[in-house]
């Protein structure tokens, strides 16, 4: 405990220096901005800003880059709520209820609860990292390929339960997503699959391309259909601070979301993407009236947003303690650290305590700043989005095109968002939900990879998934969920919910 306090005070000593405060602020501001702009993600931004950090000292540089990362998480939810474009896999769920709230004139409350929930989650996650960072990494090592596969199976079952409308359509969409994820080079053999000999497909379909097309471009097309359906813009944003009832409805969701997100964030296989989905499913399952979900339920924003931010923060644990990046942004952080001569790994904590604890303390400082930046600025972001459609749509399209191009510098990616936009539009028209497809896509890749690897380890024996206790437990939960979802009585209730 004494260690804990002295470590944290060392960290705050570093984080609260004038220079580092300034850098954290700058990072958060840039992060929020790129999060709000659809299409320009944290990966592209951090990659572009990497050379600028050459002149800074390593701690300051990393504090700024980390600020961009979680700033983008905050900003991403703003766009998800206001224009229904999730920039990152983790804000897909926020768009479901958040955008509905916005349509009902409660955009302010949705943004407010997202910011407050995120701040709470960020505070808890910071404490978790400080107190348990080192011991928690053992959890990461328990997760082998078999466990990951079972976790992904559970995630897909979540997706079925999570979907609105016909269960058949949901399963179909998930399978399409999984199928799309198999396009590209086969991981084991290196042969190309379903690429039609097109070289730009040899690395598969990029998540950002799919998400931006299916959600962003399709949303714009849907909005163009009717002149009066200017949902975000004509309605007032409403008050920002949630009232007592809102708090009462959401505070448990925030706590549950934080716990779920923090745990999943620690897993090295990018478990953080599952956090918001898991939180949303839990909230919907235990809600007295699940019908409200998908129609602007505040818990549906509060829980996933908290899970998202908690996960974003705890995903630093594998990086800082094992030296293993759990996702693309963290891989970039590894690059940033090595450029500054710090090799991330188990020895960072002892060799560079300034950096380690300084970064952790700066996360909390950053979260506080984001709360301060975001709540008063929400009005400004909204005004930005209040620009007339004839100006806003071309601007969004332009940002999407620039953002996509900046990731891999491939013109075909830009063409692909147009194609997926068309597909997304047709899906909406035919009553298919795009969210399960996106989840199927994200999890499909990981699932295939881990399934095949687990089978290589077991030399082809399928029983490996049941013999390993953690894996068996996860599969059991998945089966249980599926049974619950398919049970006649519940199913009847479900159909009632969705027939209108």
């Amino acid at each position: 405990m004494g260690d804990f306090v002295s470590n944290l005070s060392l960290g705050f000593g570093v984080a609260l220096s004038l220079q580092n405060l300034g850098l954290a602020f700058l990072g958060c501001l840039v992060g929020t901005l790129i999060g709000v702009l659809p299409g320009v993600g944290p990966i592209a931004t951090i990659a572009m800003l990497l050379p600028i950090t050459f002149g800074l000292d390593p701690v300051g540089a990393l504090i700024m880059l980390a600020g961009i990362y979680y700033g983008a998480q905050y900003g991403g939810s703003t766009t998800a709520i206001l224009v229904n474009i999730p920039g990152e896999a983790t804000s897909v769920v926020t768009a479901l209820d958040g955008h509905q709230m916005a349509r009902q004139g409660r955009a302010g409350v949705a943004l407010g609860i997202a910011a407050i929930g995120s701040f709470f989650a960020g505070t808890v996650a910071t404490l978790v990292i400080a107190a348990l960072g080192a011991p928690l990494t053992k959890l990461a090592l328990v997760f082998g390929s078999a466990e990951y596969f079972s976790l992904m199976v559970m995630g897909l079952v979540f997706a079925v339960v999570l979907a609105r409308g016909s269960i058949l359509k949901a399963i179909a969409m998930i399978l399409v997503g999984v199928l799309l994820s198999t396009v590209g080079t086969d991981l084991e053999t290196g042969r190309e699959r379903m690429t039609f000999g097109l070289s730009f497909l040899s690395d598969g379909i990029d998540f950002a391309v799919l998400a931006m097309g299916i959600f962003g471009i399709a949303e714009i097309m849907r909005n163009l259909e009717s002149t009066e359906a200017r949902d975000i813009v004509h309605k007032a944003i409403g008050r920002l601070l949630p009232n007592k009832d809102d708090f009462k409805q959401s505070y448990w969701a925030v706590i549950r979301g934080t716990v779920i997100g923090a745990i999943l964030g620690i897993l090295p296989g990018n478990g953080a993407v599952l956090g918001p989905f898991a939180s949303y499913t839990v909230e919907k399952k235990i809600a007295k009236d699940p019908r409200r979900f998908g129609r602007g339920a505040i818990e549906g924003v509060a829980g996933p947003e908290s899970a998202n931010n908690a996960g974003a923060q705890t995903s630093f644990i594998p990086l800082l303690t094992l030296g293993i990046p759990p996702n693309a942004v963290m891989a970039l952080m590894v690059g940033a650290m090595t450029i500054h001569g710090i090799v991330p790994g188990p020895q960072v904590m002892t060799k560079n305590p300034n950096l380690f604890w300084g970064m952790i303390a700066s996360m909390w400082v950053g979260n506080l700043m984001l709360l301060v930046i975001n709540l008063p600025l929400v009005g400004m972001w909204v005004r930005l989005l209040k620009v007339p459609y004839r100006l806003m749509f071309p601007a969004i399209l332009m940002f999407c095109a620039i953002g996509i191009y900046s990731i891999n510098s491939l013109p075909t990616d830009v063409i692909f968002i147009a194609l997926f936009g068309l597909v997304g539009y047709l899906l909406i028209k035919f009553g298919f939900e795009p969210a399960p497809m996106l989840l199927g896509f994200v999890l499909g890749k990981l699932m295939e990879e881990n399934l095949r690897r687990a089978l290589i380890f077991s030399r082809g024996s399928l029983s490996t998934f049941i013999e390993r206790p953690v894996s068996a437990g996860l599969l059991a939960v998945a089966v249980l969920l599926l049974v619950l979802a398919l049970l006649p009585s519940i199913r009847k209730g479900r159909d009632e919910v969705f027939t209108e």
Partner: protein, 323 residues
């Protein structure tokens, strides 16, 4: 007509000569064929940073990832040979690619104007902490005795760990079971969790875990020990001949770039490699800095030719292709 063509050609020559004299007048794009943050990207950024100062124009890194780096190199090879698009190639894109990608759109030995070798990162043989061998000899014996029962991790077809792993197997004549990961990170995680047996990878990726004692290292595949891991014997010291390999990175320009521009770029590169600060940053990564004779464009051309000749039979024999 003929006169016009000749005139235009002469004009073109005059313009390109003038261009070479005033080069560079605008920022230079350096295509890195891998995602930002990896070893090649980090080396490109460190070297490019110093080269920018010498040349008086910014070198902008553009990451064009895909197909084991061949997407980016194909694009760079097809760009204007005016010195404003250069690239950081490496062992894979300019050595192993012809064997791995039968329909490769460039020839590493013919389609480039080599600038110079930047820095290499040595390969280390690492294994899980519980691996039942104390040294390289014990490891090789165990591998031979257990054949397919041993699991080798690698970071995907065409990655450095994949190529060097195959090379290692061919040197000691065993056939382990190959387990594919998407990147070095997850592979390292499984090594630390004791669920996969061994891997051969670049020092920059594995040194922290070796120093942290979470994985075991048997040998480094260079002629000299590395200052980053002074206690680790070389493969030769540990009694294994024929396994010396490091993942080299080198700057290339497209074929047809004028000799003046090549010289300017090579001078800037050499100056960067002599700079104390740049040197220190590369050494901190465990990098090996090329010596005087290795830094010329001619030496790089020779290296590419010998690498293509070395990798093609090894990879073909292992049946490794990526198409």
């Amino acid at each position: 007509m003929k006169k016009i063509v000749l005139g235009l050609a002469a004009l073109g020559l005059a313009v390109s000569a003038a261009q070479a004299q005033t080069y560079p007048q605008r920022p230079i794009t350096m295509i890195v064929p891998f995602a930002a943050g990896g070893p090649t990207d980090v080396i490109a950024r460190i070297v490019g940073d110093h080269m920018s100062r010498t040349l008086g124009q910014q070198i902008v890194i553009e990451n064009v990832a895909g197909a084991g780096g061949t997407t980016g190199i194909t694009r760079a090879a097809q760009s204007q040979p005016d010195g404003y698009t250069i690239m950081m190639g490496h062992m894979g894109t300019h050595g192993a690619a012809p064997a791995l990608y039968p329909s490769l759109k460039y020839d590493p030995t013919k389609d480039f104007a080599p600038i110079g070798l930047a820095a290499g990162t040595p390969i280390i043989i690492v294994a899980k902490k519980d691996f039942p061998a104390k040294d390289l000899k014990g490891f090789v014996d165990y591998m031979k005795a257990n054949g397919e029962k041993v699991n080798m991790a690698h970071a995907g077809v065409g990655s450095v760990s994949h190529m060097t792993g195959i090379f290692f197997s061919s040197v000691i004549k065993t056939k382990p079971t190959m387990v594919t990961y998407r990147g070095t990170g997850p592979a390292l995680n499984d090594l630390m969790a004791n669920s996969v047996d061994y891997m051969t990878d670049q020092i920059v990726n594995v040194a922290p875990q070796i120093q942290g004692g979470t994985i075991k290292a048997f040998a480094i595949a260079t002629p000299e020990r590395s200052p980053a891991l002074p206690n680790l014997p070389t493969t030769k010291e540990a009694g294994l001949d024929g396994f010396e390999v490091s993942a080299w990175n080198a700057v290339f320009a497209p074929k047809g770039t004028s000799p003046e521009i090549v010289k300017k770029l090579n001078d800037a590169l050499v100056k960067a490699l002599d700079d104390e600060n740049t040197k220190k940053r590369l050494l901190d990564l465990g990098g090996v800095i090329p010596t005087g004779a290795e830094r010329t464009p001619a030496a790089l051309q020779k290296l590419v030719e010998s690498e293509v000749a070395r990798w093609t039979p090894v990879l073909k024999a292992a049946g490794a292709t990526a198409e």
